[in-house]
């Protein structure tokens, strides 16, 4: 048995997020109940007090995100989790946090919508997450795990990216990846960014008073602030795009999918290869920044692209922006359910000109 195997844990995706957050030094979690993410507040309410942390159940997601704002302004790592309807209520606070440049990690274990929708898994919150769901023009880094291992490791990365860029970071999962149990290795957290926060509000002992704010009324200050934020988002685009290449070297058919849709696509691709169809996948791990260069390059060298999403077509719009070769782009979506490997295989066969 390898050393890694010996350290493996059998855990739900939602609990792996908690383990990743605690490993990354997060000691403040605030939340409000909503399905399908309740494992996270329940786990945190039991574990955080025992290690000197703070769990607080808010009266609403509106309050939750503002608890985060206050704790982040204090210089502490802080996290919340929710699902679609709750994430919508947080958009006001997220806009303020983006404007005030406050780091935090926000987990969306997404469900189907719009409105109350349902509790079935969905990727319908893609637009809301990657386009900046609140007012005023901002971006939020969005990480999309596709395994329990990544629920753990991308949570740790989310905290580092949040501190590195002084921005809220989304972890966008869904009901399946949150509720699924599989083994993962709880690798030690390795800090990649300084957690020193001279901007934090800790009282003005030994220094001038400081503010954290998003209101800029004087002169041209708000325009200057907007360009400063823009430059930060451009730097994130240049330096933080992440994607996994899966069997792409000889691929003629390239699938583009994230999260659970990517997980299922991997099975379909392996089945297709058994039938002699050279399929592969580019899996965006960051949805913002979107791996534009990789998508463009892939579009240029495969015969067909197939975008698979658990919605009626959202990320596919970003794929179209990356390449002028729109005729190559196919789409398969299921808005309120997990696509099956058989369904994806059927689309792959059709693109390869095989009869099903």
């Amino acid at each position: 048995m390898s050393a890694d195997a010996a350290r493996r844990l059998l855990t739900k995706g939602n609990e792996a997020i908690c383990l990743g957050a605690i490993a990354a030094g997060c000691r403040h979690y605030y939340g409000y109940p909503i399905t399908p993410q309740n494992d996270i507040p329940e786990y945190m309410s039991a574990q955080l007090p025992a290690i000197g942390g703070t769990f607080l159940q808010a009266e609403s997601e509106v309050a939750t995100i503002n608890f985060l704002l206050g704790t982040s302004a204090s210089g502490k790592r802080v996290m919340t989790s929710s699902s679609g309807p709750g994430i919508s209520l947080m958009q006001e606070g997220l806009s303020y946090m983006a404007g005030s440049e406050l780091p935090a990690v926000i987990v969306n274990i997404s469900r189907s919508g719009p409105g109350l929708g349902g509790i079935a898994p969905s990727q319908g919150d893609y637009f809301q997450a990657v386009k900046g769901g609140g007012h005023g023009g901002y971006r939020i880094i969005v990480l999309a795990p596709h395994s329990v291992q990544e629920m753990y490791s991308l949570t740790m990365l989310a905290f580092d990216l949040a501190d590195k860029y002084r921005t809220p970071v989304f972890l966008l999962g869904d009901a399946i990846i949150g509720q699924m149990k599989e083994p993962f290795v709880p690798t030690p957290y390795e800090e990649t960014v300084s957690q020193e926060k001279p901007w934090a509000l800790t009282g003005c002992a030994g220094r001038e008073r400081q503010n954290l704010k998003s209101l800029y009324l004087k002169d041209n200050a708000i325009e200057v602030h907007n360009w400063k934020l823009h430059e930060k988002y451009e730097r994130i685009r240049r330096e933080e795009a992440r994607a996994e290449s899966f069997l792409l070297d000889d691929a003629k058919i390239g699938i583009i999918a994230f999260g659970t849709a990517a997980r299922v696509s991997k099975t379909a691709i392996q089945w297709a290869r058994k039938e002699g169809i050279s399929a592969g996948m580019l899996r965006p791990v960051t949805l913002f920044p979107f791996p534009e260069r990789e998508v463009r390059e892939l579009a240029g060298r495969v015969d067909r692209l197939l975008v698979v999403e658990m919605n009626t077509g959202q990320m596919v719009e970003d794929v179209r922006v990356c390449t002028p070769l729109h005729d190559k782009i196919g789409f398969f979506g299921k808005p309120c359910a997990m696509p099956t490997p058989e369904e994806i295989l059927d689309r792959i066969r059709a693109l390869a000109g095989r009869r099903t």
């Binding site: 703070t54 009266e59 509106v62 503002n66 608890f67 802080v78 009282g203």
Partner: protein, 261 residues
């Protein structure tokens, strides 16, 4: 001929000066507005407890937001109405720091009703300074939840009518009714005697927090001469008259023991 005035022995004793926690700047508030007076009271009480360097203030949305231009402490800006939630996040992260919010009536009693009620009900160990001038000052004098019946505002041009607009809400009494509230009082600053009493209330509210007693709130009856369409002196008379009749001054809750569980 001019001579340079030098303080002689008769001026050696300072009897009135700017509090350390008040920034030395000209006010931008309108003539007759009470924000300056209330800022001074808050600054004097911060000085009294010696907490300037361990204070985090939370500014709200509206004229009150400019707190950070006048009080010489760290200040974070909250979304409209959310100051008690932001303050909760600050206090939970830094329980040893002194934390207060400074909120107007539209902010606290309309859009932020939920946040202030639940912060109070949790007994969050922080202090709310609530400035009630019965209107939305910054946006041009619209109806607030505290607007008096019959009061004309830019959105109640025929006067507030309870049949469509409801009644002015009494927050000091409402918050006093919650178990988590340690101190709730309503004060005014339209006479020197009222200013002295108001300062005593803010001192008590701050003391509640410093002693870990729970949530404390002081509601100030305040003026907005510009949006009321009144001269500053007439605005004072309105506070002393109809406003004080509907919003009675007084202490509505004062916890005496810390072991309130």
């Amino acid at each position: 001929m001019t001579t340079e005035a030098k303080p002689g022995p008769e001026f050696a004793k300072v009897v009135f000066e700017r509090p350390r926690s008040l920034v030395d700047v000209k006010t931008h508030f309108c003539p007759g507005c009470h924000h300056g007076t209330i800022h001074r009271i808050v600054a004097e009480c911060i000085d009294r407890f010696g907490v300037r360097e361990s204070t985090i203030g939370v500014a709200c949305v509206g004229c009150s937001v400019f707190l950070y231009d006048y009080i010489d402490v760290d200040v974070v800006e909250a979304p409209h109405g959310r100051a008690p939630a932001v303050a909760t996040g600050v206090k939970r992260a830094q329980p040893d720091k002194f934390v207060f919010t400074y909120q107007g009536d539209g902010d606290l009693a309309a859009i932020g009703t939920s946040e202030v009620i639940h912060a109070a009900n949790r007994g969050e160990n922080l202090t709310v300074i609530f400035v009630n001038n019965t209107t939305y000052g910054m946006t041009g004098g619209q109806m607030a939840p505290t607007t008096m019946l019959g009061q004309k505002t830019s959105t109640t041009p025929y006067g507030r009518d309870f049949r469509g607009d409801g009644y002015p809400i009494r927050m000091a009494e409402l918050l006093a009714g919650l178990e988590g509230t340690a101190y709730s009082a309503r004060v005014a600053v339209s006479t020197p005697a009222q200013i002295r009493k108001a300062k005593e209330s803010v001192r008590k509210a701050f003391e509640m927090q410093i002693r870990g007693m729970g949530f404390s709130v002081v509601e100030f009856l305040s003026t907005c001469p510009t949006n009321w369409g009144m001269k500053p002196l007439d605005a004072q008379k309105r506070v002393l008259g109809e406003m004080s009749e509907y919003f009675p001054l007084g202490v509505y809750k004062e916890r005496v023991q810390a072991d309130f569980a």
